[in-house]
Subunit: 353 residues, 2 copies
């Protein structure tokens, strides 16, 4: 394809890109016909359509999406708000989301809040300004105030895990209990009596939910949760290291540690290594998320999987459904997502027994 442009003498050194009129002129049809041909409206005469496409190809013409959006009211952009793209949990989702978006001719407006309310606010503003047709919120529990601005504008929303049960908002509910129960029972079966849990930042609903799931799972099997064994982390590797230090300082140390996410687990393992503690021989560790790198660290991390691909798929589906429906839609849809333990090499029989 030769991407031709034509230059007007008036525009010094600046070449005007083709517009629909130029295509129409060269194909000897009206602009309306060009528009129809390009949008593959079936009622257009195949002869003409072919002529149009020929010119389009020859000149490397690409419709101006801004103009298109302006008149049609459809921008074909979905917003994607994540807490931080540098958390390895998110890139997989972004990738999958993009894959699907490309298939559906949608574009993505990706913003991250970096846990900063100001950035959260600006994210929402950017979404509104660009007139996204829907927004997937993957912050796992930040301010719901933001939501109001979007909801008010009737922008379809899908929340992962933490969405409030308000009308017109879809939710992907995650069954934390299932995977975490599997983890706890796995450790119990390995004769661990002293199981610790490093939480995420407890301002996040998802972190609270995981903590509750842990406590519930422990109680289910007739054990009690030692308060000292539940320490707050922040879902970073540094936080995991800090948490381990606190745990290591205890008189009676845990023989197993479950973590609210994989980064935390990696930090815990790293700090344990610095303390000369061998994993899994002296300490069992279980993560959460199953980020890609989890299977490559040493030892490979036993963790609880939450399918990133599936999250992306469901989120996109929810948004697309809302957009394609012409009736305003009474209630958002609800999706459920399971979590499951995946066994690797970071757990073993409790040593002291």
């Amino acid at each position: 394809m030769t991407a031709n442009v034509y230059c007007t003498s008036s525009s010094v050194g600046r070449c005007r890109i083709m517009d629909i009129r130029e295509i129409a002129k060269r194909a000897k049809v009206s602009t309306a016909t060009v528009s129809r041909a390009i949008n593959r409206i079936p009622t257009v005469d195949p002869q003409l359509a072919k002529r149009v496409w020929k010119v389009v190809e020859e000149l490397g013409y690409y419709p101006n999406t801004q103009a298109r959006a302006l008149v049609s009211g459809k921008t074909r952009i979905f917003g994607l708000i994540v807490s931080e793209i540098t958390n390895p949990f998110f890139p997989e989702i972004v990738q999958s989301f993009e894959d699907i978006a490309v298939q559906h001719n949608y574009e993505i407006l990706l913003t991250s809040t970096v846990h900063d309310p100001k950035r959260m606010e600006s994210s929402v503003r950017r979404m509104i300004e660009r007139r996204v047709e829907g927004v997937a919120v993957l912050t796992f529990g930040m301010e719901e105030a933001l939501l109001e601005d979007l909801r008010f504008r009737k922008v379809p929303l899908v929340f992962v895990d933490v969405g409030p049960p308000v009308p017109r908002v879809s939710n992907i509910r995650i069954n934390y209990q299932r995977g975490i129960r599997q983890g706890v029972q796995h450790l119990a079966a390995l004769r661990h009596q002293r199981i610790a849990f490093v939480t995420g930042p407890l301002v996040l609903k998802s972190a609270i939910a995981r903590k509750h799931a842990f406590e519930e799972s422990v109680r289910e099997i007739g054990m009690r949760v030692e308060p000292n064994f539940v320490v707050e982390g922040d879902h970073t590797m540094e936080g995991g290291m800090l948490a381990f230090k606190r745990l290591a300082g205890l008189r009676s140390r845990p023989t197993a540690i479950m973590c609210s996410n994989d980064l935390t687990a990696i930090g815990v393992m790293r700090e344990a290594f610095d303390h000369g503690i061998s994993i899994p021989r002296e300490l069992s560790v279980i993560g959460f998320d199953d980020v890609r790198v989890a299977q490559f660290i040493i030892p490979p991390l036993t963790t609880i999987q939450m399918s990133q691909t599936e999250i992306a798929r469901l989120a996109f589906k929810a948004l697309l459904q809302d957009v394609e429906r012409d009736t305003p839609a009474a209630n958002g849809s609800e999706y459920a997502l399971n979590t499951d333990l995946v066994l690797r090499k970071s757990t073993a029989l409790a040593s002291g027994q």
Copy 2:
């Protein structure tokens, strides 16, 4: 801020968002004045400006960027093409790039090629359709054909590392030699005689450049490169594992392995672990990139750092400069970026000596 909208009876159940006319009406000024006020044109009467802003705030009005772009010809979008967002090297760049973009009121159109020529092509198409004002290409060496389409449309481009020296294209040249030489000399100082190198995919110019830098550095200190010790990887952890298997199968095994990127190094370490080989006691490993997780794996990875923040900063700067210049710009700018060894715990004295 109360994001008011007004509903017309004609639009059943659908509320019209404010437009500039509605603001003008309520502020009792013309649309031109509203436009000027919003764009902070200094010649507008402060009284009127205040009146306009008051209404804007009250109604939660956000200008329609599509319309704005259409008339001004400026979309305020920069494209960012990466090879794959799931490679932990990129999220940091994306994050930094976004941070800067937000400051400058730019939006990012992020696309990944996933090493697929089709996706590369569609990336370029998406960029053109959305009329981005510039594109940063961080694929480290994919087809340059794509470039033509953009270059032809006079879209400012900045390449990292692999840009051809064509007019109107900026480049961020990376000094691989510097960091890799440091790595090689570090290993030599540790008395390693048998140093292997796991390359990236050799279709990538950046991978070739790293390999050359390695070979050159080895020769510089009077050693020769054992051909068997240079094996091709693919910049993934799986590739690293495979590469190590090949290296482990050699009669005379290397005592140190340098890798073309950190993922490869992590794969190598992982496979070495499976072979019961202890790092760094029996094998020294050096990575490249210094991704965040490198400092948290066990043992912490000695690697060659290439500042992701700096890459993002330079790329954005190059684009912005091109955009703000009104004269078409003869030649793109050239930037240089250094690489440096960062010592951690994955290297040690050669054991067999």
